[in-house]
């Protein structure tokens, strides 16, 4: 155990690091792509739509392999960690873009009219009137994506990244006692994702006074 635990915790650290980077990058980029879907000119909208629909139609694993194994043929070479982060971020961006679009779209058009009538500029309308209402509606789906990313990060072990999953396999390979370590690893994944869900629940309650 004194041998196994540090390894597993180091793996957990890598998994958390991947999750944090990907969810942050995916949220920022997804926000931009989501706004492009709604408010971009024709070309921007079309490009954003193509991106979102293509990526959402692909298994994450295919995306990971394309970036790590296929792109080097075109002279684009990434480390396993860079490739993994990039693939998951591209995946997260597409999903969060659609969440942002849907969330904003679900706010009655009349709210935008009223914000215009007050004399607010586009960015003021978005940040003062539309987003505070839309964000609450985005939270549940956003939590789903964050949880998917943490779970999906296990796929990066296939590239040799020693995340929680691969760390566990290493430990099992030495100790030959799979059951306790599978159990412990499953529990750690669950604990991370349960925490994310709880944070989502808190955020929803934070905005609960919003009613129509």
């Amino acid at each position: 155990m004194s041998f196994a635990l540090p390894q597993l915790l180091r793996g957990l650290g890598v998994t958390l690091e991947i999750g944090a980077i990907v969810v942050t990058a995916g949220s920022l980029a997804g926000f931009v792509v989501g706004l492009s879907l709604l408010y971009g000119g024709f070309a921007v909208r079309l490009a954003a739509r193509l991106y979102v629909d293509t990526i959402r139609g692909l298994p994450v694993l295919v995306l990971i392999f394309v970036i790590y194994f296929a792109l080097p043929a075109f002279g684009l070479r990434f480390s396993a960690f860079q490739a993994g982060i990039t693939a998951l971020s591209i995946f997260a961006t597409a999903h969060i873009a659609e969440i942002v679009r849907g969330g904003i779209d679900s706010i009655p058009r009349a709210q935008m009219d009223a914000a215009k009538a007050v004399g607010l500029t586009f960015w003021q309308r978005l940040h003062l009137v539309i987003l505070p209402q839309a964000v609450r509606r985005m939270v549940p789906s956003w939590v789903n994506v964050a949880v998917e990313i943490v779970k999906g990060s296990a796929l990066l072990s296939l590239l040799g990244i020693i995340d929680l999953l691969l760390a566990m396999q290493n430990v099992v390979g030495v100790t030959f006692s799979p059951l306790p370590f599978y159990g412990l690893t499953a529990f750690l994944y669950f604990a991370v994702n349960f925490t994310i869900s709880r944070i989502g629940g808190l955020m929803e309650r934070r905005f609960a006074y919003l009613k129509y």
């Binding site: 009349a110 709210q111 215009k116 007050v118 500029t121 003062l128």
Partner: protein, 257 residues
């Protein structure tokens, strides 16, 4: 006296449907002009065009001597940049049928929003102005409430305060009592009547004929996207000249007499 609001030859269509077919209308400062007509006659669309919430295809709308929403560049009509349009909208106040208060803000914040972010007043100054308007519409005890805690009539009074607090040159009212329970209509109309008495220029779309008759200086009857008849209420509403207006007014015979 020069008109504060000048609408000339306004045309708009939604696809093949012509909603406005050459509307010309002037509003003088301090005047209350009521737009009446059956639904689908283009009243609401006209009001939304004035606040640049809708594009239109021909004609022009000017507030003072500034054209709203568009500029003429070498004889071509070009949409103004978004920030300019926003500044123009700040000179106009609008109240909607469905109130459209911002549900995530208190009454005070709803009214103070434009004062802080559009007129760039200090928070304290904005709240002082907002508070005085909230008092004037009779809701001093609801300052910290959220819209969902208010009745429809109260929400609409906040919406009026939100618009008037910006000291707009013209107030636009779009069927503001149509969504209200009958017993709540009176409180909203009373607020509007006070505004009119204080000299606020108003363009009002309304089906409340008693109110129109009492408060409006001029009544404009629209039908099929054109102005059919206009004049002082005691003429237009009591002695309509056209058959179309006579037919429209039969619905209100009980109220007008």
């Amino acid at each position: 006296m020069a008109p504060i609001l000048k609408i000339s030859d306004l045309h708009k269509h939604f696809g093949p449907l012509e909603v406005l077919r050459g509307i010309s209308l002037d509003v003088d400062p301090g005047q209350v002009v009521a737009l009446v007509g059956a639904s689908g006659s283009g009243k609401t669309t006209l009001l939304r065009c004035v606040n640049a919430l809708e594009d239109y295809h021909k004609g022009s709308i000017s507030l003072g001597d500034e054209q709203i929403g568009y500029q003429d560049l070498n004889g071509r009509r070009v949409r103004l940049p978004e920030s300019r349009v926003a500044r123009q909208r700040a000179e106009l106040g609008m109240v909607f049928q469905s109130y459209n208060l911002f549900p995530h803000m208190t009454v005070l914040d709803n009214v103070a929003l434009g004062l802080v972010y559009v007129q760039k007043k200090s928070r304290a100054e904005a709240e002082r102005i907002a508070l005085s308007w909230i008092e004037r519409v009779g809701l001093a005890d609801k300052v910290k409430s959220y819209p969902f805690q208010l009745s429809g009539g109260q929400q609409q009074r906040v919406a009026i305060a939100r618009a008037v607090a910006m000291q707009p040159k013209v107030m636009l009212f779009d069927e503001v009592t149509s969504a209200l329970d009958p017993e709540l209509i009176g409180e909203v109309l009373a607020v509007m009547q006070n505004l009119a008495r204080s000299g606020q220029t108003m363009l009002v779309v309304s089906h409340e004929m008693m109110f129109v008759r009492e408060v409006a200086h001029r009544v404009v009857f629209m039908d099929g996207g054109v102005i059919v008849e206009q004049g002082p209420p005691e003429e237009v509403l009591v002695r309509p000249r056209t058959e179309r207006l006579q037919t429209f007014l039969t619905r209100f015979r009980g109220v007008l007499r």
